[in-house]
Amino acid sequence: MIRRCCVAAFVLLASGAVTQAQIPRDTTPVVAKTSPADIATGKALYEANCSKCHGLDGGGSDGPSLQGVAQRIGDEAVGNIIRGGIPGTGMNGFGSLTVDETGQVVGYLRSLGNTADMEIAKGDPTKGKAVYDSSGCAGCHIISGEGGGVGPELTRVGAMRGPSYLRTTLLTPGAILPKEGGVMERGRFTQFLFVHVVTKDGRSVDGTRVYEDSFTIELKDATGRFHSFRKLDLCELKKEPGKSVMPSFKDTLSATQLDDLVAYLAGLKGAQ
C-alpha cells in the first residue's frame, strides 16, 4: 500500500517551520551595499544566517538558489523577504539584521549572482538541451510536462539550484541531498535518501526513501516502483547517504558537454 506518494522534486522551501514570532521591522527600503568592505561583511552575515539552508555559495540546498535573485526581483524585494520571512514556509524573518546589514547581505548575493553567471556562460544551453535529450535524462525527470517521474521534477531547477550545485549533482548524484520540509518538532529529514533493505524472507530492494515512520518504510526503486515494508519484517535496513539511484555522468559526458548541460539546466526557471 502506498501511503504517501511523494512526487520527487527538489524542495522549494522547507514548509512548516514555526518562527518564534513575527518581528516588527523598520520599513526603510533595503538597497544593496556593494563596496568591498560591505560585501565582506555581507558574506560573514550570509554565512552565519543563510548558508545553512541556501548553501555556502548561495546555489541552493534545503532552500532555493539565491544566485542572481537580487538581479531578478530587485534589492528591496529581497530585503523584505530577508527581514520579514515568507509566512508558511521555512523562511524565517531575520528581523535582528538592521536595514544596513540586510543591504550588505543583498550586496553579497549580487556578487554571488555574478559569479554564477560566469559559470553558466562557460556552456551553451542549446547544446546542453541536446545532451539532456541524448543522455536519457528524460527517462527519469520531467521538464514542462515531458519525461518520467522517477527523479526530481526539473522545470524550475535553475531557480532552485545554482550551476555549481547542478554540476556536483551530475558528477556525484548523492553528494548533496536536500531536507524535506518537516513539522517543526519532528525535524527535517533528508530527501532522496538511498536505502538498502533485506526482508526476512530474503528479498533485497534498493531505492530512495519516500516515507518512513516508526513501524514502516516506503522506497521508490530505480524504475519508479514503490515498495512498502514493515520494519519488523526486515533483517537489514541500511541508510546510505551519499549514494543515489541516479548514475554519475562523470565518465559519460565530456567537460564541454557537462558545461553545456549545466548551462541548460541553470536556465530552466519555469514560469516566473
Binding site: 501511503r3 518564534q20 514570532a21 518581528i23 516588527p24 552565519a48 545553512k52 528581523g95 535582528s96 531536507k179 524535506e180 518537516g182 513539522v183 517543526m184 518538532e185 519532528r186 525535524g187 527535517r188 529529514f189 533528508t190 535518501l193 518512513e212 515512520d213 516508526s214 513501524f215 514502516t216 519488523l232 547517504p241
Partner: protein
Amino acid sequence: MKAIRYAVILLALGTSLPAFGQVPYERIVKAESEPANWLTYGGNYYDQRFSGLKQLTPQNVAGLKLAWAYQPSRPAGNVETSPIVVYGIMYVTEPPSTVTALDAHTGAKLWTWSPILKNVVAIGLFQTNRGVAVMDDRVYVATIDAHLVALDAKSGAVIWNTVVADNKMGYAITGPPLAFNGKIMIGTGGSEAAVRGLLDCYDAKTGKRLWRIWTVPLQGEPGSETWGDSVPAGGTTWNAGAYDPKLNLVYWGTGNPAPDWNGDARPGSNLYTCSLLAIDPDTGKVKWYFQFSPHETHDWDASEPPILFDGNINGKPRKLLGFANRNGFYYVLDRETGDFVAGVPYAKQTWAKGLDAKGQPIVLPDTGPTPEGNLVFPSITGAINWTSNSYSPLTKLFYVDAREMGSYFVKGTSTKWEMGKFPMGAGGERALSGDDAYGAIRALDATTGKMKWEFRLHSPSWVGTLATAGGLVFSGTDEGNFFALDAESGKPLWDIYLGSSLRSNPVTYAVDGKQYVFVTAGTTYFVFGLP
C-alpha cells in the same frame, strides 16, 4: 429533545447508576476503585496515567479495531486534549478552548460550549487546550484568554466565569484545572510574554479566588536577591498539577525565567522558576520547593506533570514523586519533604556533568546559548515537553516518551523586555535536523531512574504514555502511528497508522463492560476497542 437524548443514554447505562456526571471529591480520591472511569487529567490525583482495566492484554491487543471517531467542526489549532470519562460520557476539549461532551459508546456529540474569544494574545504557545476537570456535577475548563469557567455537566451551561489574569498582558491558559475538595486550581502560560508567573486557587462553588501564589518575587521581596537588579518575570505554571489527599499537598511545576535565552541581566538562580512547588491548598503557602534548573537559559520549563507514587528506598517505604524534566534528567523526590532521592539522565544531555548530592546540576562550561548558536542536548523543546508520563504500580516502572534531539541555542543581544510582548532579540534556536534526532519510549525503574527497556521511534514524539493493569503501555508517534507495547519488555504488540501526528496523551476507559482506548491524531479523535 436534549432531555430525551440524555434519558436514552442513562437508560443505556443502566438504572443503578447515579445522576449524570455526579463525581463527588470522595470518589475521585479513590479513582483506582472504579477503573471504568477516567476521572482526572492524569487518571487519578497522583497523575499516574495508570488504569486498572485488564481486558486488553498482550495476548489480545492486536485485535483492536476502530470503535468510533469524532471530528470537531472547526478545530482551530493543534488537538492536544486528554479526556475525562464518567459513566459513559466523555468530556473533551477542542482548540482553542471549546468543551464537548461525547457519548463514550458512540462518539455522538451531546453538547458543546465555546467561549467568545476576541483579539487573543498567545505569545510563544499554540492556541490549544489539554483538558478539563470534573467534580460533582460540573466541568471546569480554562480558556486561552485566561478565564476559568464552570460548566453544568448535563448541558454545558455556564455556572460561573472568572477572569484569572489579563490576556492582554500575555497570560494565556492551555492546561487543565485541578479540582479537589471544593477547590479548583489553575496555572497560566505566558513566560515568553514575560508575565509574572502565578498559581491560583478558586472556590469550586462560586468561582471566587481563595488565594494566589506568585511564582517570582517583586523587586525587594524575599527571593529577589536571586535575580540581580532585574525585574523578575516568567515562572509560569502552564501544565497540570498533582495532589496528595493524605498529605494535603498540591505539586505544580514552573516554567522558564524571562527573557529566556539571554540571562545576563538576571544573575542568580531566579527563584522559583524551573522548580516544583509543594503547596498547602488550605493556606496557599509553599511548603517546599525544588529548583531543577537554576538560572535557566534553554527554555527547559519544569512544567511536566509530576507523578506521585510510593516506593522503597534502602528498604524503607517512602512517599515519592517522579519527575522527567525537560532538561533531560529524571528526578525522584521525597514528596513530604522535597528531599532529593535520586536523579539520572533519561535522554541525551550535554549541559551537566551530573547532579550533586542535593540534586543540583553540575553545569558544564560553554553549554549556554551563544550568538553563533551552540549545539546542546536536549533541544529547546526538551527531552520531554508537555506530554504526560505514566507509572504502573504493578511493574513499578515509569514510562517516558523521551525526545532525543539537540538544538543550536542562539543568544540574542538584547536583555530588554516588556510584559505582553515577545522579547525581541533575546535569542532562540535552530533545531538539529530530523536525521540526527529520534524518540523512544523508555521504561525507568521509578525509584532509581535506571532504564529497563526502550522502544525506539523514528522521530521525537509528543504523545505521552498510558500504562494499564492488563500489562500494556500505549503511546504514539509524530509520524502518525498509535501503538501498544508490552509493559514488562517493551515489545511492540499492535500499531495502526492514523494519518497525521498524534499530539495527545492516550487514555482508557470502559463502558458496558468493554475496554476502550482513546487518542487523537491530527484533528480527529479516535477510540479503539476489541470487536
